[in-house]
């Protein structure tokens, strides 16, 4: 697939080609029902299991622009809502991504919401209940969201840090969808389809992923995600030897611990 540079405004970011997504359960129906009822959505699940891909797929399905904000610990509320800038001696207001999404009736997806500062998460509260308004304090305005607008957030409950937990007042506003790695057969289909390797290799890769997931808690924080499998699959499809691909795309991405690395490498070597 060839991609060329395109410059877009966030609210014009319509997804035109159907993003590949294999439904695991009834998540598409639930999302559509929630969207129809103007309810915000919370996606839970480990990293690389398809949350972002699911959002792209839903944006395509619902034909709405998708505005994604990756949250970080310095994200302030004005980063979301907007701020005044000075241009030629005058101050002008610039909408933040959240305000843009509300105005355009798009889908605003706040990825890894727990990474954002706690005071920041609170600005989405009025948007996330039945008021569906975004107060723009500095402008002295109130944006009432159109029906087409949808708020979605994601978080990974696997991080067991007390500092990174979602407040009850936030999480209880959302319809929650739980994601996990798909079952072996489905994961194999996904890896095969996304990377273009054959069935046999995809099966071995998935088996390898399960082996690393067995090690979760035994020295690994997380097992290999579906995304890592796809990465390894792509390398294999380009002619890299499977053991090397697993080492570079999976083992090294999982851990720095020398013993763990050699154990994981032994595991991949035992499969191929």
């Amino acid at each position: 697939m060839q991609h060329e540079l395109r410059v877009l405004k966030p609210e014009e970011h319509f997804i035109e080609d159907e993003p590949y997504y294999e439904p695991v359960a009834d998540e598409i129906a639930v999302f559509e029902a929630a969207y129809g009822n103007a309810l915000p959505i919370l996606l839970k699940g480990p990293t690389g299991c398809g949350k972002t891909r699911f959002m792209e797929h839903m944006a395509w399905r619902l034909k709405r622009p998708l505005i994604t904000v990756s949250c970080h610990d310095d994200l302030t509320s004005s980063d979301l809502v907007g701020r005044f800038l000075v241009k030629g001696g005058e101050t002008i207001w610039v909408d933040g991504p959240l305000a843009r999404a509300v105005r355009a009736g798009g889908i605003c997806y706040l990825d890894e919401i727990v990474e954002a500062r706690k005071d920041t998460t609170v600005v989405i509260h009025p948007l996330a209940d039945d008021r569906r308004v975004l107060p723009m304090e500095k402008l002295g305005e109130l944006l009432e969201a159109p029906d087409a607008f949808c708020l979605a957030i994601s978080y990974n409950p696997g991080y067991q840090s007390v500092l990174k937990d979602l407040k009850q007042s936030t999480r209880q506003r959302f319809v929650a969808l739980e994601f996990d790695y798909p079952n072996a057969a489905l994961e194999q289909t996904i890896v095969q389809r996304e990377s273009g390797i054959d069935e046999q290799q995809a099966r071995q890769l998935v088996k390898f992923a399960h082996m690393t997931r067995n090690l979760k808690g035994q020295g690994l924080d997380e097992g290999a995600s579906t995304r890592l499998l796809v990465h390894a699959g792509k390398l294999i499809a380009s002619g890299v030897a499977p053991v090397v691909a697993c080492r570079s795309a999976i083992a090294q991405a999982l851990t720095d611990d020398a013993d763990m690395l050699s154990a994981v490498n032994e595991l991949s070597a035992s499969l191929f």
Binding site: S77, S161, M211, L215, A263, E266, L267, L271
Partner: protein
């Protein structure tokens, strides 16, 4: 030599013989032997004599580095098992020299065990521990492997062989060699004699290898290459056993074939090891009972959850509180078998409660898997929820805390083991110190109240000082980026522009949020020497410092420490990291009382481990102490203790922990710079000033 060997010498034994032997060695070698002889003599004179006696021979057949590792190996044995094995190791110079050659090229289990254990765990199934044993076998909980594998000339091949051995034992567990009791029964009723068992094992290897070839082709390739290199593979046997290589063949097929092929001898196999039916039997019996109970308890929880009763309430309400089983649940529970080619055993069980399928929680799933791995099914007899009697029995069995373990001094179960640095050997003594966490006795708030009254004014001023320090949001003016426009800057910029100057870009206000990310562990000396006013001062200092830390919002923990020889290192949690600074903690500070000695290495290592688990940018370990490290055991006194503490602190720094020491020992300046580093300690000469000083010191080091 006479000097340090003195206690081991007698009228019949003099140092003359060894000295004569040594005279033939080079000067450097003699000095080496004398140096180490003196080091060993500090631990055990007899050992030193044995070392000196055999040193000349050792120096002749090995280089000095090898001689040193020979000695250290013996010393490790002495630490772990006592004098006799150590002496035997020393006497076996030739054996060690030969062994060392093997070790250089061979795969040493001790080095590989962490990797192997994870590897096996990754492969699947019940976690199996790797253990050392002269033979290679499994008891279904451990994989026993030889300490060194050196059959092949190079290290890489030996590693592959060791791995193959481990995998074969894992395969026995995973592909069901011991499943059900078919094999165990055959051994017990004599269907398989010793030769028969060996034949069975050879055939079972063919079956397991075929399974491996299907599931783990890379591994199978390695193992086949090893066999080709080392073994005479019996082609006839393989032809006859062709049926075993088909998918779906199980242990019963192997057994039938083993009986049918009575006249065929077993062929050798480099990684097979042996089958130990007795060990498996013992393990299986214990685990089966445990798994059954665990399964039933988990079922009880499932049933209670389903009925909307909490487990405790159910246990309380039940009139028949002694019953171990709830017979009424038997009819409600059901497990249905599904054939599932994806599952390792080819079957999957689904649980049904009142005719509806239920999703079992994770712990129940792993118990179910363990049961299926052993028995191949969930026996209908298991499907009954546990009653309160069983709950209680299990709870009793599980209550093994530090105090109950303490009943016997040499029981090390439930305790933390830490290495200790022996400076004379320049090596760690492995798992040398036994450390336990003990709870402090219950106490009241009287001491805390007294202190608060006594230092009322000081506490107020501490709060004020530390409030200033607390990380607060600050508005930064004239920033290039920010949330808001800085009007002052904008007006100025406008004026500049009108005047024809260049307009500045710094026109914004930014909220700067300062978060203190500090975790502090306070280690308080509870040795006997603190008895009296030192202890009072320590406790007062802790109360004042806790006030300061609470004001600051820094995460902190307080642990008292004391000890009596290496087998009894103790820490007393006063406040753990997650715990709030509440009345219980305040009362516990009051309960800090002098105990025994100051063996500092183990508590430092323990607190470092706790700090390491904390997520904080800065980690501080502050020791409140009144003197040098010291212990009942005379060896620890003096340099040994200081060097061990220094090493423990050095290890702490490697783990990102900053150690700091506050002491009231006026002589502290002599040894503390050596242990903590030049700037990392403070001597408070006047004990009565300690409480007031400590918060001040903290402010200095943590801001």
């Amino acid at each position: 030599m006479d000097v340090y060997l003195d206690p081991a010498l007698s009228s019949r034994r003099t140092a003359a013989g060894p000295a004569h032997d040594l005279a033939a060695c080079a000067r450097a070698e003699q000095e080496f032997v004398l140096h180490w002889g003196a080091v060993v003599a500090r631990d055990n004179a007899e050992l030193a004599y044995q070392f000196t006696a055999f040193a000349a021979e050792a120096v002749r057949c090995m280089d000095l580095e090898a001689v040193q590792s020979w000695l250290l190996h013996a010393m490790d044995l002495y630490d772990k098992k006592g004098q006799m094995p150590a002496i035997r190791a020393l006497q076996d110079v030739a054996g060690f020299a030969a062994n060392r050659q093997e070790k250089l090229a061979g795969a040493v289990l001790e080095e590989q065990a962490p990797v192997l254990e994870r590897f096996i765990c990754g492969l699947n199934g019940r976690p199996l521990q790797i253990a050392r044993h002269a033979r290679c076998f499994t008891d279904t909980e451990h994989i026993f492997l030889p300490p060194v594998v050196g059959r092949l000339p190079d290290k890489a091949s030996n590693l592959r062989l060791l791995k193959a051995m481990a995998v074969h034992q894992w395969a026995q567990n995973w592909y069901g060699t011991w499943r059900g009791d078919a094999l165990l029964r055959a051994v017990q009723d004599g269907t398989l004699d010793a030769a028969g068992l060996e034949r069975f094992h050879a055939l079972e290897t063919i079956r397991l290898d075929a399974c491996l070839a299907r599931d783990l082709p890379g591994l199978h390739r390695d193992m086949a290459a090893l066999r080709q290199r080392l073994d005479q593979v019996d082609a006839a046997l393989h032809r006859r056993a062709d049926a075993l290589t088909r998918p779906g063949a199980d242990v019963a097929d192997t057994l039938r074939l083993a009986v049918a092929l009575r006249d065929l001898p077993a062929d050798p196999c480099c990684y097979r090891g042996e089958l130990d039916a007795a060990a498996v039997q013992a393990c299986l019996a214990v685990r089966a009972a445990l798994d059954r109970d665990r399964f039933r308890i988990a079922l009880a929880r499932l049933v209670d959850e389903h009925d909307g009763v909490s487990a405790d309430a159910a246990a309380d309400d039940d009139a028949d509180a002694g019953a171990e089983l709830r017979e009424d649940s038997r009819a409600r529970l059901d497990a249905r078998r599904h054939d599932d080619p994806e599952a390792p055993n080819g079957v999957r069980f689904e649980l049904f409660l009142d005719g509806k399928p239920v999703a079992p929680p994770e712990d129940l799933v792993s118990t179910m898997e363990s049961i299926i791995q052993d028995l191949g099914e969930i026996p209908p007899d298991y499907l009954v929820a546990a009653g309160p009697g069983l709950y209680r029995r299990r709870a009793l069995q599980q209550a093994r805390d530090a105090d109950s373990v303490w009943a016997g001094t040499y029981h090390e179960e439930g305790a933390f083991l830490y290495d200790e640095w022996d400076f004379s050997r320049q090596h760690h003594r492995k798992d040398w110190c036994v450390l336990r966490e003990h709870a402090l006795p219950a106490a009241d708030l009287v001491f805390h109240q007294q202190t608060v009254r006594k230092y009322g004014g000081l506490i107020k001023s501490i709060r004020r000082t530390f409030e200033v320090l607390r990380g607060e949001d600050r508005t930064l003016r004239r920033q290039p980026h920010g949330e808001d426009v800085d009007i002052d800057a904008l007006v100025e910029a406008q004026a500049d522009m009108r005047a024809g100057h260049e307009m500045t870009q710094r026109l914004f206000l930014r909220q700067h949020k300062e978060e203190r990310s500090i975790a502090v562990a306070l280690m308080v000396d509870m040795s006997g020497s603190t008895r009296g006013w030192i202890n009072d001062a320590e406790r007062e200092a802790l109360i004042l410092l806790s006030e300061a830390l609470t004001t600051l919002g820094d995460r902190f923990a307080i642990y008292g420490f004391s000890g009596w020889t290496r087998k009894r290192c103790e820490v007393y949690p006063v406040k753990c990291f997650g715990e709030p600074y509440d009345d219980q903690v305040k009362a516990r500070i009051g309960a800090i009382a002098p105990k025994d000695y100051t063996r500092m290495g183990a508590p430092i290592r323990h607190l470092t481990a706790l700090l390491k688990a904390q997520e904080a940018r800065t980690k501080l370990l502050i020791t409140l102490s009144d003197g040098k490290p010291d212990d009942y055991d005379p060896q620890y006194r003096g340099d040994y203790g200081i060097e061990d503490t220094r090493q423990a602190l050095f290890e702490a720094r490697l783990d990102g922990v900053h150690p700091f020491c506050i002491t009231i020992d006026e002589a502290g300046a002599e040894y503390l710079p050596h242990m903590y580093g030049a700037a990392n300690y403070t001597v408070v000469a006047d004990v009565s000033r300690l409480p007031a000083k400590v918060s001040e010191i903290y402010r200095r080091i943590a801001s």
